[in-house]
Symmetry: C2
Amino acid sequence: MSLADSKQHPDTRKRILDAAEALFVEHGFEATSMRMITSRAGVNLASVNYHFGSKEALIQEVFRRRLAWLNHERLRALDRAEAGAKGAPLKPHQIVEAFFGVSLRMAADTEHGGHTFMRLLGRTYTEPTAFVRQFLADEYAAVVPRFKQALFRSLPDVPPEEILWRFHFMLGAMSYAIAGTDALQLVAEYELDEKDPGALARRLMPFLLGGLRAPLANQPVKPKEKGARRAA
Amino acid sequence: MSLADSKQHPDTRKRILDAAEALFVEHGFEATSMRMITSRAGVNLASVNYHFGSKEALIQEVFRRRLAWLNHERLRALDRAEAGAKGAPLKPHQIVEAFFGVSLRMAADTEHGGHTFMRLLGRTYTEPTAFVRQFLADEYAAVVPRFKQALFRSLPDVPPEEILWRFHFMLGAMSYAIAGTDALQLVAEYELDEKDPGALARRLMPFLLGGLRAPLANQPVKPKEKGARRAA
DNA sequence: GTATGATTAAAACAATCGTTTGAAACGAGC
DNA sequence: GCTCGTTTCAAACGATTGTTTTAATCATAC
């Protein structure tokens, strides 16, 4: 360890992380072997254990290096919105934009690996490996309460429990959309415009807000007339 | 093979399928070993290969035995709704109910394993193992076009592409809600009422419909192809 | 009873897993 | 030149993977 940077070959660590990230999103954690990672990264097999200690520690580092920045940006976006509101409750679309907008912009970044990582993150949300779950819960511990409180203030007439469920649903819609496996071949014919990073966001955001602000279920059902409301 | 049923011990097959189903949703396909399955099922290790041929074939059978019924019910629900409409376009909520309602009712069945299976299915949507993807696409091949067409008729003013994307989002919200990992600990404090199978449906359905019928975003990019059939 | 086909049982197969080892190669300071 | 701490390398470790094998067991028909 010298006074200058301690890393002589900072390449290796990054090459491993990038290769692991790409392989994890493609095959999952278990189906991705150390040999697949190291051969793709062009490094020696033992270097993963040397630099990270274990496969499990590698997985955590894959998440940590990007998730820390992501959640920091989300809090920053929320701070900015609240500063502009001067004490007044935020509008729902501002909160949704702060939380999901950052994710979607990161997912639109295909050059620096943000896209790959968001796909991995979305996929991992439904993959409840014990230690990954705990890790995610810890990483989000500082973010979730802030957004919960902002939403409660923003929607005072909606029961808090209902708000949280809808936040839950929104997270699912986004994760699935970003993970983008399209298992039912629904949108296979309509490829996302690669040149336009905001294409997905412009489709998803209205959906999320529409769901969040939908009328509550236990309202008396009366729409029996033909002229029902439609989109557009 | 006699004229009667050929299965002397139909237990074994079912025990294996049930054990595999439960373990797959808990650990994933790769992390679930044959020995875990057979020991939980209380059968011999070799019986999986004897009855199913391979682990991959077992996975497919786990899906097939329930997915066939699920999709058949979805089509039946759609048929009933269309029969009642007498040629008129269905309302969006009827189509959503036909597709997602069946899923949610199956997910509410904790006694016969429907709940476990729907969790597995939701989890698998974001787990794009090659042969599973192909299998799912085949199983849904008869269902998806029917629902697509019904939605197109129901929402004539919304661009078909937009409808499919929103169907895509709805599927994600439901899958995530059913898979129910709650990675962010959002609704951990509000446990679902186990006694009430419709609890999740009453929360999710309004969200889905709100998202489906949300106002369209103004798209700055003008599609260069075709005559741009948009809402006038 | 015996014969027959289906199912189960225990053991072993080669292959791959994550990890560890010990030596070789490297780079900076003297 | 030499030394020292860091990193890379090839090889091997024991454990576990999915699968196969061979014999034992079962139920039924003759």
